[in-house]
């Protein structure tokens, strides 16, 4: 049982070969290469010759950490993906490289994820999850202005957002490849991962709390250099970009074909009783997908807005005090 727990990945996000079209796979490779290339450059500058041993061992850590689980209910267990945690603890660029290495090794060594679609898996879990997680974390930290709750709230939301966004990106790739219809893929993936993200958030906060107690220097708020808003913006833009791709997928040829057929054949009387196209598909695509996206966007903006408003109110309350960053 332990062995099977090790072999099953934390979340159903590793896409196997055959599920993405060649065009989508290649595009994802290009995007992943850009992200990883950027990370290589930036982390090389920051770490220098420590880069290889540090990131190699940390990648091994992430892999092993994904084995640490806790019982959720009955036979299911919660795991860690680790993108957000990696980014918070070692920075976004090293985070991207470590998770990328984990994804590559999972594919090459354990067949967890395909070889041709590795670019997509790296893009989703290595680049998007890490950047979104880091952006959200820095945004919340900037809002908290150095207070302790910033680290925990930030860690939780960052981890949750990273998992959800990675799953949305996965769904978008499946949709564009024609492997899964938009009306099903997006709600299913996002829905499941909204729940899985909670487990990710809890574990991430637990880990951060532990590290904060034992090695304060690694997570001190003061350690975070200025520019938190820029990072928050990056994370938010990335999240929005991924979300907005989904409605574009609804103009996938399948959707148009069906509309064309529907309109074309509607008038002519066919002998084979053409089953009226299930209502859920075309109107479904517009409604369900757009509704999901809009809900996601509204939710994100709402949370961000509330957090911002609360921070403003608190700042006004301590206006006259000595404490300032």
């Amino acid at each position: 049982m332990l062995a099977s727990g090790i072999l099953t990945s934390p979340a159903p996000m590793h896409i196997p070969d055959g599920f993405l079209s060649l065009a989508v796979s290649l595009l994802c490779w290009v995007l992943a290469a850009v992200g990883v290339g950027l990370a290589l450059w930036r982390s090389g500058k920051a770490l220098g010759e420590r880069q290889v041993p540090l990131m190699g061992v940390l990648a091994a850590f992430i892999f092993a950490a994904q084995m640490l689980n806790f019982t959720v209910a009955g036979g299911t267990s919660g795991h860690l993906l680790g993108g957000a945690l990696a980014a918070i603890l070692v920075g976004p660029w090293a985070g991207i490289l470590t998770v990328t290495t984990v994804v590559a090794i999972q594919a090459l060594l354990f067949q967890d994820g395909g070889l041709l679609v590795m670019g997509a898996n790296i893009l989703n879990m290595g680049v998007i999850a890490t950047l979104v997680g880091y952006g959200v974390y820095r945004g919340v930290m900037a809002l908290a202005r150095g207070q302790r709750w910033g680290m925990f709230a930030g860690g939780f939301v960052a981890a949750w957002a990273s998992v959800v966004m990675a799953s949305v990106a996965t769904a978008v790739q499946l949709i564009f490849s024609g492997t899964s219809p938009a009306a099903v893929a997006l709600p299913a993936m996002a829905g499941v991962h909204v729940l899985i993200g909670i487990g990710e958030g809890l574990i991430t906060v637990g880990a951060l709390a532990f590290v904060a107690v034992v090695r304060r220097d690694l997570v001190e708020p003061a350690r975070a250099p200025a520019g938190g808003w820029r990072w928050a913006a990056v994370g938010l833009v990335l999240a929005l970009a991924v979300s907005l791709l989904a409605p574009l997928a609804s103009t996938h040829p399948d959707g148009l074909e069906r509309v064309a057929e529907d309109l074309g054949f509607m008038g002519a009387a066919q002998d084979a009783p053409y089953q009226v196209i299930p209502d859920y598909v075309f109107p479904g695509i517009s409604n369900q997908v757009l509704a999901t996206i809009v809900a996601g966007l509204v939710g994100t903006l709402l949370v961000a807005g509330i957090a911002f408003a609360v921070a403003r109110l608190r700042r006004r309350a301590v206006q006259g005090s000595v404490i300032s960053d």
């Binding site: 061992v57 290495t101 041709l116 906060v205």
Partner: protein, 264 residues
């Protein structure tokens, strides 16, 4: 229990094991690309690809059952694609009502679903043979020869080296947790939040151990003359045997692609 039992490599003295890792990697990827390009519903092409994969599996002496079983591990992901059976336009074979929505199962949808599953399974078979017949360090060296960035390969080598060390440490952490947890049969203790927090602390603890270990490793490397430059041996030249196997394989793939497009 050791996590090292998860390493996919199985030493044998087979034709496939003896091939150069670069050749195997390229051929495996070509096979997967060819499978991806095969049109839906071109069943003879799929049969031929399956035969080719079977031939390679047999030649590798890994055991056909082993290859088939491991490659079937990805099939549960097929659930993600199953809805394509209902959403692909075409002549409906069967229609049902689910939750107030009309669902029409179409022949075209079944064909697409079957094609996706077949492509996935065939690609996995080739990947399993690749990793089962090639030691991972050799695979990394092959990637380096194919111009994957030096740093990435070096990090991956390190990860592989310490994967099992840190994985064993994680197993020990879980065993320690189990040893310190009293729970009645079938019930977990505490609330789910508490359990998640405890797991979080395990993760945090593992992180700190890994970080400090990496610092010791780095110090040891510097003490032995590490200067940041990652050096590796040059790969040996290709054998004629490698080309003798590669050429028919590539020709077979090309022929299958042609066949698939001409007839369908």
């Amino acid at each position: 229990m050791h996590i090292s039992s998860l390493d996919a490599y199985r030493p044998r003295t087979s034709l496939i094991h003896g091939l150069d890792a670069r050749v195997k990697l390229v051929l495996a990827v070509l096979f997967i690309v060819a499978t991806a390009l095969t049109p839906e519903g071109a069943w003879p092409a799929y049969v031929l690809l399956a035969a080719l994969a079977l031939g390679v599996a047999v030649a590798s002496q890994l055991g056909v059952g082993f290859v088939y079983r491991r490659s079937a591990l990805a099939l549960p992901f097929a659930l993600a694609a199953v809805t394509v059976v209902f959403s692909t336009p075409g002549r409906p074979l069967l229609s049902t009502q689910v939750l107030g929505m009309k669902l029409a199962l179409t022949g075209a949808g079944l064909v697409r679903f079957a094609s996706i599953v077949l492509k996935s399974w065939l690609s996995m078979q080739m990947a399993v043979v690749l990793t089962g017949s090639t030691p991972f360090p050799a695979l990394l060296q092959a990637m380096r020869s194919l111009h994957v960035p030096k740093i990435l390969v070096a990090v991956a080598r390190f990860t592989y080296r310490y994967l099992f060390v840190i994985g064993d440490e994680a197993l020990r952490l879980m065993r320690a947790r189990a040893a310190r947890s009293g729970a009645s049969e079938g019930r977990s203790g505490g609330s789910i939040f508490w359990r998640a927090r405890v797991t979080g602390r395990l993760v945090g603890s593992l992180f700190l151990r890994s970080l400090e270990r990496s610092e010791r490793i780095y110090d040891a490397m510097v003490a032995r003359g590490y200067d940041g430059e990652v050096r590796s041996l040059r790969s040996p030249a290709l054998h004629s045997r490698d080309l003798l196997v590669a050429c028919p394989f590539v020709l077979a793939l090309a022929a299958i692609q042609l066949l698939a497009r001409i007839r369908w």
